[in-house]
């Protein structure tokens, strides 16, 4: 059964790119919900059930770190797998994301294969062709 995904990024362009990448990559995705910051993401999580989330760090109003902190405090939300998609390069901050329970990390700009490979264990694929790991800047925690 297809799984729902929540994309949290202040850039509508990136949200559309992630959505398109998931479709092209053949990931078994159901509904794709969108939020442009942490507050909107929490509102979406209040209304919908999702299998995983793709979350940016640098966002206005409530950033990705604050969102993960809030989710960790909530028993209903703390186990939702989160993939960080960010331009962040600091080892400390990536380790901090890992401590907060992030499932994986892709650094922007990412290739479609990188996003596919990090999301595949969470969503499964409809079409498994072309699943070569693009390796660079991809990390499963």
């Amino acid at each position: 059964m297809p799984s729902n995904v929540l994309i949290v990024d202040d850039s509508a362009t990136i949200r559309q790119m992630v959505k398109r990448t998931m479709q092209i990559a053949g990931l078994d995705v159901g509904e794709v919900y969108e939020a442009s910051n942490g507050i909107e993401a929490l509102a979406q999580l209040n209304d919908h059930t999702v299998a995983c989330m793709v979350v940016d760090i640098n966002m206005p109003t409530m950033n990705g770190i604050q969102l993960l902190t809030r989710m960790k405090e909530n028993a209903r939300l703390r186990d939702i797998p989160i993939v960080i998609a960010s331009t962040e390069g600091s080892r400390k901050r990536i380790a901090q994301m890992e401590d907060f329970g992030a499932f994986g990390y892709v650094r922007k700009p990412f290739q479609p294969e990188q996003l596919r490979d990090v999301l595949k264990p969470l969503l499964g694929v409809v079409d498994d062709a072309g699943s070569e790991n693009a390796n660079a800047e991809l990390d499963l925690f």
């Binding site: 850039s11 362009t13 790119m17 398109r20 640098n58 331009t87 390069g89 600091s90 922007k108």
Partner: protein
């Protein structure tokens, strides 16, 4: 002073442009057409060192960038409507990559949310005394990125 192995603003600008949008820059100056609308997008980072990156480009370039990111026609409503957002995200990614290349991965830096404004006239492309400049032409459009360290 940067050593020769440190990636330059120019090389990072070029790399991000290629990897993100499949666009290529060259060193030949693109002509500036009269009446073009110019945009300036600014992002700052703060940490053990602070700095500012500025991008000057035309609105036509911003639309082309959006089209390449979205895989849409440059004439489409999506490309036209997302031009500003595309440039801001480009600067967010460029800044993240540049900070890592310049300052390494050990320290934590906070990036501001990029701000974009429409300029009232064609900008002066001469870099200031403390500024490093990159870019000249991207697929026929004049584009410039400026980096200024802050004390």
């Amino acid at each position: 002073m940067q050593d020769q192995k440190t990636p330059t603003l120019n090389s990072i600008f070029s790399e991000v442009l290629q990897n993100l949008a499949f666009m290529f820059h060259d060193e030949d100056e693109a002509e500036i057409a009269p009446g073009e609308v110019w945009l300036e997008t600014v992002i700052r980072y703060r940490g053990p060192q602070d700095g500012t990156l500025r991008l000057r480009c035309t609105r036509d370039f911003a639309v082309l960038l959006a089209a390449n990111l979205l895989g849409t026609d440059p004439e489409s409503a999506d490309s036209l409507g997302r031009a500003g957002d595309a440039v801001k995200e480009f600067m967010n990614i460029l800044c993240g990559q540049y900070v890592t290349a310049r300052h390494g991965v050990e320290d934590v830096f906070d990036l501001t949310i990029p701000e974009i404004e429409e300029l009232t006239e064609t900008p002066d492309f001469t870099p200031g005394p403390e500024e490093e400049a990159a870019g000249v032409s991207v697929q026929g459009h004049r584009v410039q990125v400026l980096y200024r360290p802050q004390a």
